[in-house]
Amino acid sequence: MDEQIDIQAQILTEETCQFTVDRPVYPEGSVYFASKVEAKGSPLAEILFDIENIVAVLVSGNIVKVTKSGHENWGPIAKQIGAAIRDQLGSGGLAIADTAQPDLPGEGEIKEKVQKLLDTEINPAVAQHGGMVDLIDVKGNTVYLQLGGGCQGCGMADVTLKQGIEHAIRQLVPQVGDILDVTDHASGTNPYYTPSKK
């Protein structure tokens, strides 16, 4: 394949670097490999573990997040990783095995668990502020939520979602990938907290 593959690398921390590819690497969702053994059958992940000091690989959509040990500069390692991603995607072969998430529950099971969590714990909690959370859908391992009532347009909705609701869902179903808020917050008419310039 002659088409150029554009990859943007961003060093997140001394240990972690994120590679944003201009096309899907694993469109099915997110998968995390903590070792070369776990990566077996997923060619891209296997190649990445062959690079010295690579200790973990997370692939989600068009994002490849790589964790290394040691204090070496990311520069030369990132170049190797970028080349590996280009080679693998350029070959036209499978980058991540379809079976990379053997323990991933089905959409129905995720829906059932998340709905039960919303009914028994989350909605009773957010109801204290006149809020509610609806499960809109589960596609693959991506969960779509909609916030309503006091949560819709609330200045702290993102805190409640990311620090509270997401945390609870991931504890219950660790294999869940993205948790997306599909709320039209601009249409909220009774948010519990509203921002202001103090």
């Binding site: 943007q8 921390t13 509270g164 008419t189 907290y193 509203t194």
Partner: protein, 417 residues
């Protein structure tokens, strides 16, 4: 994995920006707010309730928390959390500004005193007690003057007076603002009975956004404010960067802001300064130990000159700085950018906004965010403390940005009764 404590008051505009930035950096987050989150029991390591008005007690609580969940940085995302952030960081021996320097930046009188000692150009000023007889003071005030509360932000409570009659009226109005419940609840005793009277400084106004490292100011952006700010109220509207002022004048602005930061004792972290420029040069109107407020930071994006090309937000840059990660190789993007804070035109209930889609399709407009919610009771300046919304633009030149912002604004219609 590193963990950062974000002090996010429940009234912050910047919750999402900071949480997104933390996620981009792959750091664990604990959010410390002044009111309990309904999910706090479900995630005690991620959600803390802290008394912002009692920093020492809050610091003790965070120290206890950090025994189980060690913290690598404390970031106050708004003015309200700045003193608390410094107090906690000091208690945990994390890098921080001195509590005194941050407190001085939050109190306009303390700021003026320190700038005066350091001979930094600024308006003449006088602290007055609300218990003094206004008719006596009004004879001693140089007109035109500006009456200001000591601790409010965003031009709230700031009123120009051109005569003794206007001065007494302004003072009465400011007394009323200081009695408003949301204001009274956040003000300390020391600032409750005093206000500042300053000479009005004519001229153009700019805002400087910077990051201080080891006492040295790195300028992230200088924003022109093309709409005149002559009062009687000082409603912020359009900010455009890069500045169209001469290079020499910009150097003078940077020098003046750096002196002001040094005078206050600020040695690290974000700084936001507002300066007036006239024939006598730059003059410091305000300097605060925080970054730009509201949603305005969306106008700023930074690229890394060394290695990667993805731009990062101001919030990510601030987290990098707090976590002592590299920030030196980041520069603001080459494009011109701007934001318009949409003023509240009238008091009343906000029923409808028309023309948002039409405003969004104006050339060079990136987004229009209406942050006020429908059915909300709106209060304009000087009593009010909110914006109606924000318009964002990016283009090849500051002129194009300003034109786009004005055109987009002209397409909006707000129904307020």
């Amino acid at each position: 994995m590193k963990r950062v404590l974000l002090l996010i008051p429940t009234t912050s505009y910047r919750t999402q920006s900071f949480l997104t930035a933390a996620r981009e950096l792959g750091v664990d987050v604990t959010v410390g707010s002044e009111r309990p989150n309904v999910m706090a029991d479900r995630n005690p390591e991620g959600l803390l309730t802290l008394k912002y008005q009692e920093p020492k007690e809050a610091a003790r609580k965070v120290i206890e928390f950090s025994h189980n969940y060690p913290l690598d940085a404390i970031v106050g995302v708004d003015d309200q959390g700045a003193v608390l952030a410094a107090t906690i960081a000091e208690a945990l021996s994390l890098p921080h500004n001195s509590v005194a320097s941050v407190a001085a930046a939050q109190n306009k009188h303390m700021m003026r005193r320190l700038l005066n000692i350091a001979r930094v150009p600024q308006p003449s000023y006088r602290l007055i007690s609300l218990d003094e007889d206004p008719s006596e003071i009004s004879n001693e005030v140089p007109y035109p003057c500006v009456v200001k509360p000591l601790t409010l932000a965003g031009s709230r409570g700031v009123i120009r007076a051109d005569s003794d009659v206007e001065f007494r009226a302004a003072l009465d109005r400011l007394k009323g603002i200081l009695r408003m419940p949301d204001v009274a609840s956040m003000r300390g005793d020391s600032s409750s009975r005093h206000v500042l009277v300053e000479s009005f400084v004519p001229g153009k106004e700019v805002a400087l956004e910077g990051l201080i490292s080891h006492g040295k100011l790195k300028v992230l952006a200088i924003f022109d404010k093309p709409d005149p700010l002559d009062g009687p109220y000082f409603e912020e509207t359009i900010y455009v960067t890069p500045s169209r002022l001469s290079h020499t004048l910009q150097e003078e602005i940077i020098f003046c802001a750096a002196r002001a930061a040094e005078a206050l004792g600020l040695e690290r972290g974000p700084v936001h300064a507002e300066l007036r420029i006239n024939q006598t040069g730059p003059c410091v109107i305000e300097i605060a130990a925080r970054s730009i407020g509201g949603f305005c930071s969306i106008a700023l994006r930074f690229g890394n000159t060394k290695f990667y090309t993805k731009t990062v937000s101001l919030e990510e840059l601030l987290l990098r700085d707090a976590l002592e990660m590299d920030t030196t190789s980041f520069r603001r993007e080459p494009q011109a950018a701007g934001v318009m804070m949409i003023p509240i035109p009238d008091a009343g209930v906000f029923y409808q906004v028309k023309g948002v889609q039409e405003a969004k399709v104006v050339e060079h407009i990136e987004d229009v965010i209406i942050s006020a919610h429908l059915n909300e009771t709106l209060v304009p300046l000087p009593e009010g403390g909110k914006y109606l919304g924000f318009i964002f633009s990016r283009a090849g030149s500051p002129e194009h940005v300003e034109t786009a912002l004005r055109e987009a604004y002209a397409r909006l219609e707000f129904v307020i009764h």
